[in-house]
């Protein structure tokens, strides 16, 4: 935004028209816009801040002054200690990580391969296959749960992380194929033809030429894939509720039910579930927002 948002420097000549920014938007205009946005930002962040602040306070301080920051007297990490030592939270984190990253890798790899085939090769049934995959973008996979459960039982995959990875991969593939094939279509033909003239095989072209070129699109796909998989409650609840395969989301859900009265632990557990996403968001927010907006324009 550097060009259009640079403030008007006030030239003497009346012939130079003021920039759009300045005309539409005087200092007074800025003020109320900031006012509205600030208020909304507080509404958006306050609940999260409340949990983080109270998770490091003593029990009495949580009740006496819920909105106060922790002081030297009221600061305590007892909730975190209890959660880390007394429960399987780290295991749940591991499960969520395996499931989310596992499905991410499969979605990106298989999605890019299919996107490449659909956008590069001419074959009968191309459009039908495109349509078949596109259905999955709009119709939620959850509606097939009855049969998915039967299938997972039949495959003897119940209470495994593999079951979740397969379902999330199936869920993420349609959108991934759409976004990635759109990107692959924009790659100049000369690049591929040059490689082909040199006698490079199709598989090598895909891995060595195409994959590196679509990295921005892969980031977009990663955003759309990871968040729903990490946060999902439905499939872990149904396909993998066992103690060993529980994800963080399901773990927090059941933990809250079990320890509802132990506020230190509950608030610490909630914070622990929030913090990884928070850190990821801070680290990748630019990429994430670019992914969201570029995905939307397409």
């Amino acid at each position: 935004m550097p060009t259009s948002s640079t403030p008007y420097t006030g030239q003497a000549s009346p012939a130079a028209p003021p920039t759009l920014a300045q005309r539409s938007f005087g200092a007074a205009g800025h003020l109320w816009v900031h006012f509205v946005l600030c208020i909304y930002a507080v509404i958006a962040l306050f609940p999260i801040a409340l949990i983080l602040i109270n998770s490091v306070k003593t029990r009495s301080a949580i009740f006496d002054g819920p909105m106060a920051l922790p002081t030297a007297e009221t600061l305590t990490l007892v909730g975190f200690q209890k959660v880390l030592s007394g429960t399987h939270f780290l295991l749940y984190f591991g499960n969520s990580l395996v499931v989310t990253l596992g499905s991410l890798v499969l979605i990106v790899l298989f999605g890019a391969m299919a996107g490449w085939a659909l956008s590069e090769y001419k074959f009968p049934g191309n459009r039908v296959l495109n349509f078949f995959l596109a259905i999955g973008i709009m119709i939620p996979i959850r509606l097939g749960t009855v049969s998915i459960l039967q299938l997972i039982v039949a495959l003897d995959l119940i209470n495994t992380r593999t079951a979740l990875i397969l379902v999330y991969t199936a869920q993420g593939l349609p959108l991934a194929v759409m976004i990635l094939s759109e990107f692959i279509r924009q790659i100049p033909t000369e690049l591929k033809d040059a490689a082909r003239c040199d006698g490079v095989g199709e598989i090598a072209i895909f891995f060595q030429v195409i994959l590196p070129l679509i990295r921005p699109a892969i980031a977009t796909v990663a955003v759309f894939t990871m968040i729903p998989a990490w946060n999902d409650l439905w499939f872990p609840l149904i396909l993998a509720p066992g103690e060993d395969t529980r994800t963080v989301t399901l773990g927090v859900q059941q933990f809250i039910g079990q320890y509802a009265t132990d506020w230190n632990s509950v608030l610490a557990a909630l914070s622990m579930a929030v913090i990884p996403i928070l850190l990821l968001y801070v680290a990748f927010s630019r990429q994430l927002i670019r992914g969201l907006t570029s995905g939307a324009v397409k």
Partner: protein, 304 residues
């Protein structure tokens, strides 16, 4: 496009098509089929035609719960359309204004709740609204409304509205970002020209920006529709599968879950569950179909 050998197609397409078919498309089709069956105590399935649907839609024991969930779901969707999308539009319009400082920071902060799991969001709001902790009451006291505070999540008359507002609060980031992207795509020359003609900021919004982002508003509507008629997590994590008090917050998603897995005295039934899923499928299909036929076809003409 290149002519291709069969093995190349197989290598590139097979993994995606097999996983998608096996774990998404075929289970969906199979669920639609299962809705026409019933199973006896021994687990033997037999074809019963439309019986399950007749039960759900017309048997008084079932239909009251179904229509309650459906009606609640419609309200849930209407609240999102009335609040989430207009507020998202307002916020996106504000921080897409040219020359606004800190636009990126606002955008980043306001989007944050959308990323968190519904389980966490649901519990945070349960705590804030809990009369026991008193945070909600205190906050309302700050603006002089302490007397208005009530146990909103626990009352039949307010539970659904409160849960809808929580969901609106969380998911406002999605319409906001989609609309923001669309607003960025509005060409500067068009806006410059309008300014040169002396149009006011408001007029530019209503007569230029808004019509140009109609396609995105259509997309936001259908995404909201699909997400709302498929909602489950928030109600389940705050209210459990019973969506209480007295089913006042029941949505199709929780109704589906109860039908499938059973609750209290009622035994779960996969085939009845499949029938409920089929009805949800039809509702979503009707929405998606209407979107493609009416909205998208008409709007592509305006696309830039």
């Amino acid at each position: 496009m290149k002519k291709v050998r069969a093995w190349q197609l197989l290598v590139f397409l097979a993994p995606a098509v097999i996983i998608y078919s096996m774990f998404s498309a075929l289970p969906l089709a199979d669920t639609l089929r299962l809705g026409f069956y019933t199973s006896n105590d021994a687990g033997v399935r037999s074809f019963v035609g439309l019986d399950n649907y007749r039960t759900i839609l017309f048997d008084p024991d079932w239909s009251a719960a179904f229509w309650n969930a459906m009606w609640n779901n419609i309200k849930f969707f209407c609240i999102h359309m009335a609040l989430q999308n207009p507020i998202g539009l307002l916020l996106a319009t504000l921080f897409s204004l040219k020359g606004l400082r800190g636009a990126r920071t606002y955008r980043t902060l306001i989007f944050l709740p959308t990323l968190l799991s519904v389980v966490i969001i649901g519990f945070i709001w349960q705590l804030i609204l809990s009369p026991l902790w008193g945070v909600g009451e205190k906050l309302m006291g700050l603006v002089g409304l302490a007397d208005w505070f009530g146990p909103w999540l626990g009352q039949e008359s307010t539970a659904l509205l409160t849960l809808s507002l929580i969901s609106v609060w969380q998911y406002i980031g999605i319409p906001m970002m989609l609309i923001y992207a669309a607003l960025l795509a509005v060409p500067d020359e068009v806006l410059e020209a309008a300014h040169a003609e002396g149009a006011s900021g408001l007029r530019i919004f209503w007569q230029i920006k808004l019509p140009l982002i109609y396609p995105t508003l259509g997309l936001v509507t259908i995404l909201t529709f699909v997400a709302n008629f498929n909602a489950f997590d928030l109600i389940y994590s705050v209210k459990g599968a019973l969506a209480g008090p007295n089913y006042s917050a029941d949505l199709l998603g929780t109704y589906f879950y109860r039908t499938f897995f059973g609750y209290q005295a009622q035994i779960g039934s996969p085939t009845m569950g499949a029938a409920v899923a089929t009805l949800m499928f039809l509702v979503i299909l009707a929405g998606v179909g209407a979107y493609f036929v009416m909205v998208q076809r008409r709007l592509t003409r305006y696309a830039l």
